[in-house]
């Protein structure tokens, strides 16, 4: 995977497959601290200590339906954080959910570009309409602070029984998320 937002998508998919009804995606860039942090917090099925220990092993998967017992997602993400002096931490509790935090040194020469964050977020929000998403982007530059929030719970409340895949709703989400990313200067990272 050639950009960070593809890894983010893979982690979001894990949360949805864990049965989460709410996934919080928090993205924080701090130019002074030179950090880029992704937090993905879900209220899915969570992992017991043994599964959590195994989660960072590329030769393990929790998906019992698989013939191929290899789950690369989280271990790949960990590897790319460590390549640029960052780290990945996962906390999880069975029945309560999982919190994943990936930290990157923003200026590191080996840090992947963030890529199309908008496409990752738009696809997830609309493609998992049964799951609620709360998104918050914070970007502190040396001079200014930018912030963007999107909450599908509020959107669904306004829409009533209109599905998120209704054409004009898709257009609304595409425009809102793209504007949010543009206004927080995330496209330049």
């Amino acid at each position: 995977m050639q950009d960070l937002s593809l890894h983010l998508l893979d982690i979001i998919e894990n949360s949805v497959r864990a049965g989460a009804s709410l996934v919080k995606i928090l993205i924080d860039v701090d130019e002074k601290k030179d950090t880029l942090i992704f937090k993905i917090i879900d209220n899915g099925s969570g992992m017991d200590p043994e599964t959590l220990n195994n989660a960072l092993n590329p030769f393990y998967t929790s998906k019992t339906s698989r013939k191929k017992k290899i789950g690369l997602g989280i271990s790949l993400f960990k590897q790319i954080t460590e390549l640029c002096e960052g780290s990945l931490h996962v906390e999880s509790e069975l029945g309560k959910g999982t919190n994943l935090e990936a930290t990157f040194k923003k200026s590191h020469i080996d840090r992947m570009p963030i890529g199309s964050l908008a496409d990752t977020l738009i696809g997830s929000l609309i493609g998992h309409s049964e799951t609620d998403f709360y998104l918050k982007i914070t970007h502190n530059t040396l001079k200014q602070s930018f912030e963007y929030e999107f909450d599908t719970r509020l959107l669904k409340e306004e829409l009533g029984d209109i599905p998120l895949t209704y054409p004009d709703v898709i257009q609304y989400i595409i425009e809102d998320v793209n504007n949010g990313i543009k206004n927080t200067k995330m496209g330049e990272i």
Partner: protein, 120 residues
């Protein structure tokens, strides 16, 4: 910038549409979004479906994402499920192929034989 008033307009228009059609969704599109699918371009496939649905105003199509389907060598993989018909699975999808599937299968009802990898 879109506002709550825009959302209200969308809701009113959609409610009128739904009343007129008086039916649910005719097509369900499911894009495989496992790790190998993502690495092979499933995100761009999903985005192209959303763009096409929005641009063509396809009000009776829903699109969703799912995990891996065990067809890693043919990722990105997409199921097209039409009410009362067999499930058609397309493989090795990319944005250009998505546009062809939308135009020929979803809009005109003719599955694109060249891209089909299984029928259920």
């Amino acid at each position: 910038m879109k506002t709550l008033a825009d959302l209200k307009k969308i809701r009113e228009k959609a409610q009128k549409d739904m009343k007129l059609r008086n039916t649910g969704s005719r097509f369900k599109i499911v894009v495989g979004m496992g790790t190998s699918g993502i690495a092979m371009g499933a995100r761009e496939v999903m985005k192209t479906f959303l763009d096409e649905i929005s641009t063509r105003q396809l009000v009776d199509v829903i699109v969703s994402q799912t995990g891996e389907k065990g067809l890693s060598s043919m990722e990105p993989v997409v199921d097209v499920i039409e009410d009362g018909k067999e499930i058609i699975t397309y493989g090795n999808m990319n944005p250009e192929r998505v546009k062809k599937v939308v135009s020929e299968h979803i809009v005109n009802g003719q599955p694109v034989a060249d891209f089909i990898i299984s029928r259920d």
